[in-house]
Amino acid sequence: MAQQALFLIMAVFTLGMALGTVTSRNIFHSALFLVGSFAGVAVIYFLLEAEFVGVAQIIIYIGAIATLIIFAIMLSRSVTGQNGSPMNRQWAFAALGAALLFAALAWLFSRVDFGSTAQPVPEDAIALIGAGLVTEYVIPFEVASILLLVALVGAILIARERHS
């Protein structure tokens, strides 16, 4: 019961923050709303008893990715502190597109059977994740490292272009 109430509060909070992200006139405030939205998602993970995913959400999304976004805002030319309207003439089409996508996803999720059963989360869930990474899911795991490598090289090439 309390869990359900907390979930509803966090769901509303997350959506509110997401709305703030796209409607705020100050891009720095948008980034902060985004952090709030990430935090809301993290709490929802904890409510789902997916504690490792929740902690990873905080460490990676709030601790790293949002920091990068804030750095990028501070580095970019005229945007910081200036209040431009986030809307342009195409906002109606964008809203329509988003609504259609939402409808399509909702339809999909209501039909697909995810095969979920109400099982308690095992006590050693994190050990199982660790074991899964290097046994059953070893190919995606190693491919992930190649993806990270590509991202690393790409970032360096883009940022260092002018210097060399």
Partner: protein
């Protein structure tokens, strides 16, 4: 585990937050109020501020953040692996060795490209 394990942490946050809030609001009740224009100015070591502070910064800060994201994700993968190494034994060691090895190539490349040189 159950999410009830996290209830004490939620309670601690709910107690710590109002404490910080009250501490911040207290002086506006208790302190004196004599605002003047000089107090409202930005501090520039006695100079009159001549430009807005929000200006551009060197790209190296951005580089640090990008490198951090990539290695941070790597570290996140290390944690569950570290918990289960006893079951995985040498097999787990080799798999993680490959994962780390690929990223190590990137690390050396980035070093060679001078990403860690701070001007």
């Amino acid at each position: 585990m159950t999410s009830a394990d996290y209830l004490p942490i939620l309670i601690l946050i709910l107690i710590a937050a109002p404490f910080a809030g009250i501490a911040i609001l207290l002086p506006s009740v208790l302190g004196p109020k004599n605002p003047n224009r000089m107090k409202q100015e930005a501090i520039e070591s006695g100079m009159i501020p001549f430009a807005d502070a929000r200006r551009r910064f060197p790209v190296q800060y951005y580089m640090v953040a990008v490198l951090f994201i990539i290695f941070d994700i790597e570290v996140i993968f290390l944690f569950p692996w570290a918990v289960s190494l006893n079951q995985l034994k040498i097999f787990g060691l080799i798999e993680m060795g490959v994962f780390l090895g690929i990223l190590l190539i990137g690390y050396l490349y980035v070093w060679k490209k001078g990403a860690f040189e701070w001007e």
